[in-house]
Amino acid sequence: MRAFALRALGLLVLLLALLVCGVVAAQPASDDDSAASDDDSASDDDSAASDDDSAGDDDSAPSKDIASTESAEVDAVTGEAEAAEEGGAVRSEQWFGSADTEEGVPWGYFTLLLLILTTGGLMLYFTKQAQAGKEMFIRRMPGIDAIEDGIGRATEMGKPVLYVPGIDDLQDIQTIASMLILGQVSKTIAEYQCELIVSCCVPIVREVADEVVRAGFYQAGYPDAFRPEEIRFIAADQFAFCAGTNGIMLREKPATNIYLGRFFAESLILAETGYLNRSIQIAGTAEATQLPFFVAACDYTLIGEELFAVSAYLSRDPRLVSSLKASDYLKVAIVTALLVGTILASFGNTLMVDLFSLTLPGN
């Protein structure tokens, strides 16, 4: 009951805000009798986008209301049309598609909408499945073996493993993936009774890494082996962090370095120091500009999405698994479209090309 009241209150506030905003912001035109009839198509679109959501029905209301109330109010305020008329701004009366195609809506707009809705639908479906505990197949990547081998080697040599979770904030999806992998890595390390150093560039990431590693050691059954002082905050600045991490490599000589997360210009400096140290190096990032340097200087590199796939495989986090699954399905669809489209195009049929076109043919 309370939740409902709050929701209603929230809606009310929003409605009010949007109303005022719409009314005042709209620069009235003299003739807009057609607007009322067109309103429906606008809110259709809104509710279409929200179809996937359980809360969809009460939320499509404000946009519907705003559209109709707005047009009513606007008629009343007619008169202060300014600036734009000698400006090139042609006010579009179109409710769907691009602004200047009065002749029709290009197919691309429908394809785009369909793509968004399909991705959303698949994602929600897979999230439900994952939450229900259904096993979903993700292939085991060689990168996982590489990480385990690296930890094994460090254990044999009696030297630590260095883990660097990138230099971006915690919100970044790559950092999140890295933290999930760190959980698994720390568990394996605890089981092998090896040492782990984590070197962080963001204070909050250090805190989370601390939690994650603590949990990993606990799950492995060695909570006493966990040493919080080995989860280190080096420096918040990029190059200072880089110099500090290099220092760790030179002094403590880790046998294995794992760089997973979002890296920028420091990637090659870290990888070089690690190489000279004769460490096994495993890297992974979705930052395309830094991947070349990792590939050239590290023993194994997770490229782009492989990073997310490994974290989904290891953590089984429903968010990652569902995203991965949804995009897998769409990729197959896109590959099919590409092959069929090329064949069609080569025979002079532009159907597929038009389907993905945001302009009408001939524009």
């Binding site: 929701r7 929003l14 929200s50 946009s63 707009y109 070089e272 395309a288 200087a297």
Partner: protein, 216 residues
């Protein structure tokens, strides 16, 4: 209230913004235009919030003479001086001739420009060193990568272009690498990234992703 309202706002604003792409009607644009305006002001506000945070973090260290307080004092003092000069120069701050007196523009020209420009020039040196000591053709993939890199470096500059007989073909091969395999690989990465962005965006809008709202 603390969770429901933000989630609701996220949903409504998110859906309206998705609609911006599909609905070109001027009424709808008036609405989204206003919301964009607010968004711009709020992003600017977030920058100022970062500034306040920075001062909150560094000022106590300086006052209590904590570790590295000297450097932090440099940061705060230079910040304060820049702000003071900026506000006192006002609208004329960018006009030509301003740099001959101690002003905002002087600070920019003689302090910010050299610092900012040199920061990334450092990497030229590091790439040289890493190229010599760490970038190895350890397997087929890395070999291909290094060969392509050498080709691009060689054929992009006049020395490589000017090599008799093969120079022309090297340039053609470089262009091919950029236009065909590079294009294919980038597009694959783009498509993957776009699919990821769609699902992340939808999760945020539908309220399934709440990390930005803080812990419970």
């Amino acid at each position: 209230m603390k969770r429901t309202l933000p989630i609701l706002i996220t949903f409504v604003i998110g859906v309206i913004m998705v609609g911006e792409f599909f609905i070109p009607h001027w009424r709808y644009r008036a609405l989204t235009g206003e919301l964009l305006e607010w968004g711009i002001i709020l992003t600017a506000g977030a920058f100022i919030l970062g500034l306040v945070n920075l001062i909150q973090v560094h000022l106590p260290t300086v006052v209590e003479r904590g570790t590295d307080w000297g450097y932090k004092a440099v940061l705060l003092v230079s910040l304060a001086v820049t702000l003071a000069m900026g506000f006192s120069n006002g609208k004329q701050r960018l006009d030509s001739g301003m740099e001959v007196s101690f002003s905002y523009k002087w600070i920019f020209d003689y302090v910010y420009v050299p610092l900012s420009a040199t920061m990334f020039a450092l990497l030229a040196f590091y790439i040289a060193s890493a190229g010599f000591r760490a970038f190895r053709a350890r397997n087929a993939e890395a070999t291909l990568l290094l060969v392509a890199a050498a080709l691009v470096m060689f054929a992009s500059v006049p020395i490589g272009e000017g090599v008799p007989v093969i120079g022309e073909y090297l340039v053609a091969l470089k262009d091919w690498t950029l236009d065909v395999p590079n294009n294919a690989a980038r597009r694959a990465i783009f498509i993957g990234a776009a699919l990821g962005a769609i699902s992340t965006g939808l999760r945020v809008i539908l309220g399934l992703e709440r990390s930005h709202l803080g812990g419970d």
